[in-house]
């Protein structure tokens, strides 16, 4: 399949505000597409439409050829789309391990009735439990979260919480990962690590990533292509360098200016 996610004519209004109008995106497998735009441009609204928190007013979202714009967020997660949130949305009263284990929920087939009927390590439920723990351990190792696995996430440093949220999203084994400002509020060093990990996810796990980020250097560095939106409308889409120099993008970020030739 050469198209993983296809968005056509996506629009979403809140009252009179056009949060998104006529957005088209085609995402190839294993691609990293960066989404940039000033605050309030509609980036997070786009994510909320893709993962089903919002229902678009018009337009089609196809994931692996299947229209998903009318499905609820739990169905969409089951199809293989995971996300992180701009403001960390972890279950603060739970431990790191529990938060990540929740990401496995979509893959768990033992419900409460079946689980109650089967006890012990050799049963189906017992084997399934161990398989899930193994996957979770792999992710914990990958992101270097061993030291905090049994800590309550509410008390962890901000950067670590961001990682736990990423780990939880990875536990779904998604084919499409939506990252909403994964580096926001991180130190330069943490940002560097995050860039490595995201690259790793693309290279080693073959995850396709849609990424919102304000840090221009990071987003230019990491993305295969970039989509710039402003006032809910796409204004540029293409290679990072081309988008960065696009006049509409410059205008959106810097305001309309008299064009001045750089001094020689």
């Amino acid at each position: 399949m050469d198209v993983l996610l296809e968005i056509q004519g996506l629009s979403k209004n809140f009252g009179g505000l056009k949060a998104l109008s006529n957005v088209d995106i085609t995402l190839k497998p294993k691609e990293i597409l960066g989404v940039i735009g000033p605050n309030g441009a509609g980036k997070t609204t786009l994510f909320n439409c893709i993962n089903g928190l919002y229902r678009p007013d018009s337009g089609v979202i196809r994931f692996e050829g299947r229209p998903i714009q009318a499905l609820g967020p739990d169905r969409i997660a089951r199809l293989g789309i995971a996300r992180t949130f701009q403001n960390i949305e972890l279950f603060a009263n739970m431990r790191t391990m529990e938060n990540i284990m929740l990401g496995r929920h979509v893959h768990m087939r033992t419900g409460i009735f079946r689980g109650a009927a089967m006890w012990g390590r050799r049963s189906f439920a017992g084997r399934e439990e161990r398989a899930h723990r193994l996957t979770v351990e792999t992710i914990i190792d990958l992101l270097g979260l061993q030291a905090v696995r049994d800590k309550l996430v509410g008390g962890l440093p901000y950067g670590t919480q961001k990682l736990v949220e990423l780990a939880r999203a990875l536990a779904l084994e998604p084919r499409l990962l939506l990252l909403d400002e994964p580096c926001a509020g991180m130190t330069a060093e943490e940002k560097q690590d995050m860039i490595f990990w995201i690259k790793d996810l693309q290279d080693e796990l073959g995850v396709t990533i849609l990424l919102i980020e304000h840090d221009m250097r990071m987003v230019m560095d990491i993305s295969d292509r970039i989509l710039a939106i402003n006032f809910g409308r796409p204004i540029a889409l293409g290679a990072p360098e081309a988008v960065r120099r696009h006049p509409d993008v410059l205008e959106a970020y810097l305001g309309k200016q008299e064009r001045r030739e750089p001094a020689a």
């Binding site: 739990d74 997660a77 739970m94 284990m101 929740l102 990401g103 689980g115 779904l172």
Partner: protein, 290 residues
């Protein structure tokens, strides 16, 4: 000393019943932020079904499964065909729907069972343990013991199972839980079934404890559950259980030492009002989580 111990046992038995009735409502509140007033109607349904099964089979052993299955089904239906349709409305709407349903249920029970108390005597009621002046009845052992076992079961399910994990996640943040694939509607349905089954057991236990059931026995409970919930900190399951036992003990000891100067329900509601004014987060005193 004998009086103190007997008060302790009586209070614990009352507290056990309060806990079993209130857990279901607290769980619903924790997950959906709905005040499920019709829960008291489920509790009466359990008592009546238990009595029916007892009359048909002659054994109290059949009363419990009948109440569990019947109430779980009723809880699920209440959710599926009533609350689910209004769960995203303002909280007032499900509250009013619940009150209406509770009133209708009460009338249906009175039509079916009549307005008078019906005897729920079983042979073991008179037996018990006697140690000098200290006396525990079989009923008290039954109530305290089965409540303890059920509370352990609830604790295990909430804290040690994957479904419990998903339940806690949904209670903390429904949207995020759905975003990672938790089917919230399934959780809600399960939640109603489970809480209703506990209320059904409570209904049978109350019937056995007092030797009678009554179609009106839910009237006070529809609102008295609020007392337990408020004392425990709304939506907090552990707090609710602690509050239930505290209330059962407080009622018993206050009446035993100061005489019957007020009906016990009045004492409970006064406690609730005082707690709301003085400790709005409940006796557990937990601040709102950020």
């Amino acid at each position: 000393m004998g009086t103190f111990l007997e008060n302790l046992v009586t209070g614990a038995a009352l507290g056990s019943i309060y806990a079993l009735i209130s857990i279901g409502m607290t769980m619903v509140y924790g997950l959906l932020k709905i005040l499920h007033v019709a829960h008291a109607g489920v509790y009466v349904f359990g008592a009546l079904l238990g009595l029916l099964a007892f009359r048909l089979t002659g054994s109290i052993l059949f009363a419990f499964p009948a109440a569990v299955l019947g109430c779980a089904l009723m809880g699920y239906l209440l959710y599926r065909f009533m609350y689910r349709r209004v769960q995203d409305e303002k909280p007032l709407i499900p509250l009013i729907v619940g009150i209406g349903m509770f009133t209708a249920m009460g009338d249906a029970y009175r039509l079916a069972a009549g307005p008078y108390s019906i005897s729920f005597e079983h042979g073991l009621a008179q037996t018990g343990i006697v140690l000098g002046t200290f006396h525990i009845s079989f009923n008290q052992v039954l109530v305290i013991g089965s409540a303890a076992a059920l509370l352990v079961l609830v604790w295990l399910m909430v804290n040690k199972t994957k479904t419990g994990l998903a339940w806690r996640a949904s209670a903390q943040d429904r949207e995020v839980a759905m975003g990672i694939g938790v089917n919230s509607n399934y959780m809600f349905g399960l939640n109603f079934m489970f809480g209703s089954a506990l209320a059904g057991i409570a209904g049978v236990l109350v019937g056995l404890y007092y030797g009678a059931v009554n179609a009106n026995m839910g009237e006070v409970w529809a609102y008295k559950v609020f007392v337990v919930m408020v004392l425990g900190g709304l939506g907090n399951v552990t707090g609710t259980v602690i509050a239930a036992y505290l209330l059962g003990l407080a009622e018993t000891f206050i009446i035993s030492s100061w005489g019957y100067f007020l009906p016990r329900d009045a004492i409970a509601f006064i406690c609730m009002i005082l707690v709301l004014i003085l400790m709005p987060n409940g006796v557990m005193g937990k601040r709102k989580q950020v």
